[in-house]
Symmetry: C2
Subunit: 258 residues, 2 copies
C-alpha cells in the first residue's frame, strides 16, 4: 500500500487542542492520509465509556494544516466509532491514539481514554497503537519520544499485528532527555491506593475528591513500569479478550452443576 | 469466617433503585453483612470510567430494609473505591455487582459499568463477581437465575478465586423460564456493528445517535454467547492483566532497537 492510499485515524483523550495530539499528527502524516477525530474536551479517566443516552456532536475544525479534522462531543471510543461510520465511511488502515499527557502503563490501561480508543480500533480489526508520555504537564517535551513512535508505527505497518492485539506504548520522561531504547514488556502489577479528601460545601453537605497514590507491587524486571523507570519506552501487547484461559480448566473442576 | 463476619459490598451500574440490585441484595444477605454503595443514576456504558475532575457525593438511603446503603454520584468503579475508603474503612470480603439489566457477555465486558465495579474489586484483591441478565427490560424476571447466582457465590466463598481473576456471570432469558445449568466459557469474539443515526436540531445543526447491531463472529461452542443461546448461565473467568503474553516472544523478534 502506498503512503497516499493509507488512511490513518488519529485521536486522543486529552482533547483535540492538546499538544500531544499535534505531535502525533506530525509523525503520522509521513505514513499516510491522516484524519483527526478527537474529543472537544478532556476525557481522561473515561475508561471504555461510550455515549448511549445522549447524542453526539461533530464539528469540522481547521486546527491541523492540510488535515481533515473534527472535534467530537463524545468519548475517545465514540470518536473511533463515529469516524469509521460517518467520516471515513470505511475502516482506516491504522488507528493512533495520543500522545497522552500522562502514563497509561500498568493498570492505567483500564482507566485510560487514550487506550480505549486504541482498543476500539483493534475491536474493529484495525492495527492500533496508543501512545502516552509519563509526564502530565501540558508543556511536557514530547521530542525525545518521537523517533521511537515513528519506528513503532513503521514496524506495525511492515509487520502487522495479530487480530485482537494492540500496542500500549509509554514513553519515559528522563531528566536528561535521553530515551535509552524500546523494551517489550508485560503490564506491571500495580494499583492506585485510593483515598478521598472530604470537603464540606457552603450548604453543609459533604463531598469527596478522589486522590490516590500509585503503588507498584511488581518485583519483575519485565514490566512496563520497570522499563520506564530505566529510561526505556515500554511496549505492552494488549488484548481485549479478557478471558482467563488458564483458569477455565480449574473452574470446570468446581462441578458447578452439582 | 462466619456469615456475621463476612462483609459483602453490593453495587451495580443501573442505579440504586434498579430492580436488579434488590434481587442481588436479597441473595447476598444470606452470605454476610451487606453494604450497598451504588450510583444515584444509571451508568450503563460507562466502561471503567472514574471521576477525577469533579467531586463525588455520597448520601445514605433507606432503600434496603436493615441494610446500610448509600447512593453515590460517581461511576460504578468510583462506588467501589469510595466504599472501601469512606464507608467500610476496610476491604470487604466479597464484591458483587449487578444484577445488570442487559447482557455483559462477550465484548460488552469492556463497555460495562457493572463489570468495571467487579474489576475494581478484583484490583483491590477482593473476590468479585459481576451478574447480568440478558434482558434489558426494567420488568425482567430475575427469578429463574437466582438459584444459580446463589450457587456461584457459595462456590466462590468456599473455593476462592486466584488473584487477578474475577467472574463475569450472564444469565439467559429463555422463553420457557427454564435455565438449564451453568457453563464455564470464554469471551466470544463478537462486536457491535455501529452506525449513527443523523438528526438535525431546530437550529440547523447536526447531531448523531449511536445505534448498533450486535454481531457474533465466533463459531465456537465454548463461548459465553453460545452457552446463553442454549439456555445456560455463562461464567467467564476474567482478567484485568490485558497483556498478550503469547505475543511478547514474537514482538521481541521485531528487534525494535535496531
Amino acid at each position: 500500500m502506498s503512503t497516499e492510499q493509507r488512511s490513518i485515524l488519529v485521536t486522543n483523550d486529552d482533547g483535540i487542542t492538546a499538544p500531544g495530539i499535534r505531535q502525533l499528527v506530525d509523525v503520522a502524516r509521513s505514513f499516510g492520509k491522516v484524519t483527526v477525530v478527537a474529543p472537544d474536551s478532556p476525557q481522561s479517566g473515561m475508561g471504555h465509556a461510550v455515549t448511549i443516552s445522549r447524542p453526539i456532536r461533530l464539528e469540522k475544525t481547521d486546527l491541523f494544516d492540510g488535515i481533515e479534522s473534527y472535534e467530537c462531543s463524545g468519548t475517545p471510543a465514540d470518536c473511533v466509532k463515529v469516524a469509521v461510520d460517518q467520516i471515513l465511511h470505511r475502516k482506516p488502515d491504522l488507528v493512533l491514539s495520543g500522545i497522552n499527557h500522562g502514563s497509561n502503563a500498568s493498570i492505567n490501561v483500564l482507566y485510560s481514554g487514550t487506550m480505549s480508543a486504541a482498543i476500539e480500533g483493534a475491536i474493529e480489526g484495525i492495527p492500533s497503537l496508543g501512545f502516552s508520555l509519563t509526564n502530565y504537564s501540558r508543556n511536557a517535551d514530547f521530542g525525545p519520544g518521537l523517533p521511537f513512535i515513528r519506528r513503532l508505527i513503521q514496524r506495525v505497518i511492515t509487520q502487522g499485528l495479530p487480530e485482537g492485539t494492540l500496542l500500549n506504548v509509554n514513553i519515559p520522561n528522563p531528566e536528561d532527555g535521553q530515551v535509552k531504547g524500546i523494551k517489550v514488556c508485560r503490564q506491571a502489577k500495580a494499583k492506585w491506593e485510593e483515598n478521598f479528601a472530604e470537603r464540606t460545601d457552603p450548604h453543609g453537605r459533604n463531598y469527596y475528591w478522589l486522590v490516590g497514590i500509585f503503588k507498584d507491587y511488581d518485583q519483575g524486571e519485565d514490566t512496563d513500569l520497570y522499563a520506564l523507570s530505566k529510561g526505556y519506552v515500554s511496549v505492552v501487547p494488549t488484548l481485549f479478550d479478557l478471558t482467563d484461559h488458564h483458569f477455565i480448566t480449574n473452574l470446570n473442576t468446581w462441578n458447578l452443576n452439582e
